[in-house]
C-alpha cells in the first residue's frame, strides 16, 4: 500500500452499461478504486446506458445484489473528481444532473474524442 508511483498514468474508464444487467459496471468501479489507491489520475465517463449507473435512489436489495451505487459517493475521498456524463445519452434517457448521485460534468460526444486521446489508457466497461 505504501508503494508510490513516481509517474501517475492518466486512465479513463468508459462506462457504457446499465448497472445490474451485467457485472461490468461493478468491475469497473472496483478497478477505479484500485487504480486510484495507487495514485493514478482517473477520469470517469458515462455513456449510453452507463449514465443509469449514477441514478439516485437505486435499491437492488430485492434482486439480491449489492448496492454498489453507494460507492460512487466515496470517489471524492479516493481523489476521483473528474466525472463526465455524455449529453445526448442523458437527454435520450430523460436524465438530468440533479437526478445523479454525484456531481458530474456534461460533455458532448464531439469533445469526448479529444479527452480520450489525451489519456495514457482507456478502459471500456
Amino acid at each position: 500500500m505504501t508503494e508510490q508511483q513516481p509517474d501517475p498514468k492518466k486512465i479513463l474508464f468508459l462506462n457504457r452499461r446499465a448497472p445490474y444487467g451485467s457485472s461490468l459496471p461493478r468491475e469497473a468501479l472496483d478497478a477505479v478504486l484500485m487504480a486510484s489507491a495507487f495514485g493514478q489520475e482517473i477520469t470517469l465517463v458515462f455513456l449510453e446506458d452507463g449514465v443509469f449507473q449514477l441514478k439516485k435512489q437505486q435499491d437492488p436489495s430485492n434482486i439480491e445484489m449489492k448496492n454498489f451505487s453507494k460507492t460512487f459517493g466515496a470517489l471524492a475521498l479516493y481523489g476521483v473528481e473528474s466525472v463526465y456524463v455524455e449529453q445526448r445519452s442523458m437527454e435520450k434517457r430523460g436524465l438530468t444532473l440533479d437526478q445523479l448521485l454525484i456531481p458530474a460534468k456534461i460533455i458532448q460526444s464531439s469533445e469526448l474524442g479529444a479527452l480520450l486521446e489525451e489519456q495514457d489508457q482507456v478502459l471500456s466497461f
Binding site: L14, R16, L47, E48, S109, S110, L112, G113, A114, L116, E117, Q119, D120, Q121, V122, S124
Partner: protein, 100 residues
C-alpha cells in the same frame, strides 16, 4: 492516436454509432467478430460508413468475414486484414479502445 475496435453488429447495438461519434479524425476503426456486419455493402448504414471513411481508415478482420459468409459483400473503401495485420495495426496506434 487511437485504434477503435468494434465487435457488435450495428443492427442491435450502439457500438458503431458511439464509436464514430467520438473517434477523432484520422483515428482508425477495426471491425471484428460480429462487428464485421458493419462492413456490409448495401445496408441502411451505407451513408454512415461512407461519411466515416472520409474521416477514418476502416479495417475489417477477414477471418471473421469469412466465417459469416460475407467476405464478398464488403463496402468499398474498407480494408480487410488478417490476424497479423490486426496485430500490426495495434502496434501502429498508441492505444486501443474497445467498443463491445
Amino acid at each position: 492516436m487511437i485504434l477503435h475496435t468494434v465487435n457488435r453488429s450495428p443492427f442491435g447495438s450502439d457500438c458503431l454509432q458511439s464509436c464514430l461519434d467520438i473517434a477523432t479524425i484520422d483515428s482508425g476503426v477495426i471491425l471484428i467478430e460480429d462487428g464485421v456486419y458493419c462492413a456490409l455493402a448495401n445496408t441502411e448504414l451505407t451513408e454512415l460508413i461512407s461519411t466515416a471513411l472520409t474521416r477514418h481508415k476502416i479495417y475489417v478482420l477477414s477471418p471473421d468475414l469469412q466465417a459469416r459468409g460475407i467476405a464478398d459483400a464488403v463496402a468499398e473503401g474498407i480494408e480487410a486484414v488478417d490476424y497479423a495485420g490486426f496485430v500490426e495495426l495495434c502496434t501502429q496506434f498508441d492505444k486501443v479502445v474497445s467498443w463491445y
